[in-house]
């Protein structure tokens, strides 16, 4: 009987300790990628570590492969996540080479700490109304979101997509009462994909990336809340020149091509 009990006796305190640690830290690891591991090998740098906004996941993965093909022997590692979280990780000393943010405000956190200088805007993103493919609430424009019967998900104002949504709604003079304020744009989109909400404000690129699971509706006020995406090499980039070469690729016509195909606009 004792030998049967023993595993639980061990597992329980361990699980409890982990749970408490998790809640103490707010479990940030639960939904963002963990901070990059050890810095790339010293000496001849062969690895570029890029911290990029979650909305860049598809395009930057593609560009990373192109970079590796153009620079044999090198590899590009990505840490995708909410721009604000990435900025925090960088200011706390995460060994990144390049930072591509979804808003100038999050980039400013890093430049203010003198960890990067002169960021360049490489893309712009526009909001759309995302609705489930069947559009059960028959949403046609921004005004429909004010209907209390329409369940709306927005990003929290603390993250770029939420700030943009607030700006667009303000420009339209509308007040929307969302049922949830999501942590990042992908979480917001998921709620639409699963049909849990009738509409959400997300980026055009996210609608395109969802490949038909949600439909996007353009609205004129989106032009008042366009998001600039800045990119910069970090002052202490362990990869040195390689970091600048990756930024050059993003800014090149090839980079622009990949980005516009995904729904971004050229700056």
């Amino acid at each position: 009987m004792f030998s049967r009990l023993a595993p639980w006796a061990v597992a329980l305190p361990v699980a409890l300790a982990l749970g408490l640690l998790g809640c103490g830290a707010g479990e940030p690891a639960a939904s963002t990628t963990p901070a990059a591991g050890p810095a790339s090998a010293a000496g001849a740098a062969t690895e570029v570590t890029v911290f990029a906004a979650a909305s860049l996941t598809g395009t930057f993965t593609e560009l990373g492969k192109a970079f590796e093909a153009a620079h044999p022997g090198t590899s590009v590692r990505f840490n995708f996540g909410s721009s604000a979280t990435l900025a925090q990780q960088i200011t706390q000393g995460a060994p990144a080479d390049v930072f591509a943010a979804a808003s100038p405000a999050t980039m400013k956190t890093v430049t203010d700490a003198s960890l990067a200088s002169s960021p360049t805007t490489f893309a712009r993103n526009k909001l759309q109304i995302a609705v489930p493919a069947a559009n059960p609430a028959k949403v046609e424009g921004l005004k429909d979101l004010t209907d209390p019967k329409v369940k709306v998900a927005l990003c929290a104002e603390q993250v770029p997509c939420g700030a943009a949504a607030a700006k667009a709604l303000e420009a339209a003079g509308l007040t929307v009462k969302p049922v949830t304020l999501e942590q990042d744009v992908k979480a917001t989109l998921t709620k639409v994909e699963l049909g849990e909400v009738d509409a959400a404000l997300v980026y055009r690129t996210d609608v395109i990336a969802s490949a038909g699971k949600v439909n996007g509706i353009e609205f004129p006020e989106a032009d008042k809340a366009i998001n600039d995406y800045p990119i910069a090499t970090l002052a202490k980039a362990p990869a040195g020149d390689l970091a600048g070469q990756f930024v050059d690729l993003v800014l090149s016509p090839q980079g622009k091509d990949v980005l516009t195909k995904a729904g971004f606009e050229a700056p």
Partner: protein, 282 residues
């Protein structure tokens, strides 16, 4: 003949006393070194929070209405979730410990699934079942007009899902350790199985139930992943403390630390009240 057992007994007790002294005499570093490292590993992150806490602005930040709102919501939902877990979890533990049915091992393993499942995945699973388009949720909405996502009830469901295994495991352990002879005696005296459970078993395992409930409550209080996925994140209805901490990390790490400290304080109080239980546990 009659003195022989007594002398043997006294000799044995003497020997055991000496050997216990011997154990206390030299601590094996093979155990002590990793034990201390383990302790440091668990405590240092918490110390980090304390060191970096904005003590000067702490009272003002604690008094902010959104902090109190999140704390109140956390306490209320964790308590309701624990009550629900008690109602369902204690009978489940009894079933696992006292009733021999085919596939019991599989059921026991299934009960612990939420312990292993990443909570975010748990939240998605809950959406697929209880969401607006979920297997059960669809029917709930059509028949009763009940939708769980984005409601405080949804928070309770998410917390209960993740926390219930802690209660079940704890109660089942207590049931297995309890002396069956008391229950058998009650049964031979003519008590029904329900009466045996209520009057004999339950009082016998009460310490285990309490410990399990406290663990369950603590886990529910710290629940993050399933809640944010299943119930969403809206102040006043679904934004519990861990969600507030996570959101605060985006822009105001200092505020996040304050919120974490509140949770930390609650956790420490619970652990301290549990200490006697752990020490006396077999």
């Amino acid at each position: 003949m009659s003195t022989s057992p007594r002398s043997r007994l006294s000799r044995r007790s003497h020997r055991s006393g000496r050997s216990r002294q011997g154990i206390a005499g030299r601590l094996p570093w093979v155990l002590v070194a990793p034990a201390l490292a383990g302790l440091a590993f668990l405590v240092l992150p918490l110390a980090g929070l304390l060191v970096r806490a904005p003590w000067a602005t702490l009272p003002r930040r604690l008094g902010e209405p959104n902090v109190l709102e999140a704390l109140r919501l956390s306490l209320v939902t964790a308590t309701i979730a624990t009550a629900g877990c008690l109602l369902l979890g204690v009978p489940l533990a009894w079933l696992l410990a006292r009733v021999d049915f085919p596939g019991r091992r599989v059921v026991r393993a299934l009960v612990t699934v939420p312990l292993v499942l990443p909570p975010v995945v748990g939240g998605v699973a809950l959406l697929l079942v209880l969401g607006r388009r979920g297997l059960v949720g669809q029917w709930l909405e059509a028949s009763f007009g009940i939708t769980l996502p984005f409601t405080t009830a949804g928070v309770v469901v998410a917390e209960a899902f993740v926390a219930m295994p802690f209660l079940v495991i704890s109660v089942e352990g207590a049931l297995r350790a309890a002396d069956l002879r008391f229950e058998e005696a009650a049964a031979t005296l003519g008590a029904s199985r329900w009466r045996v459970f209520r009057r004999v078993t339950l009082p016998l395992i009460m310490p285990g139930v309490v410990a399990g409930a406290v663990l369950c409550w603590a886990r529910a209080l710290g629940e993050f992943g399933a809640t944010i996925t299943f119930a969403g994140n809206f102040p006043g209805t679904t934004r519990t403390m861990p969600l507030a901490v996570y959101l605060a990390l985006e822009t105001e790490p200092q505020a996040a630390i304050v919120l974490s400290l509140v949770l930390l304080a609650v956790s420490v109080v619970i652990l301290a009240s549990l200490r006697d239980r752990w020490v006396s546990a077999p």
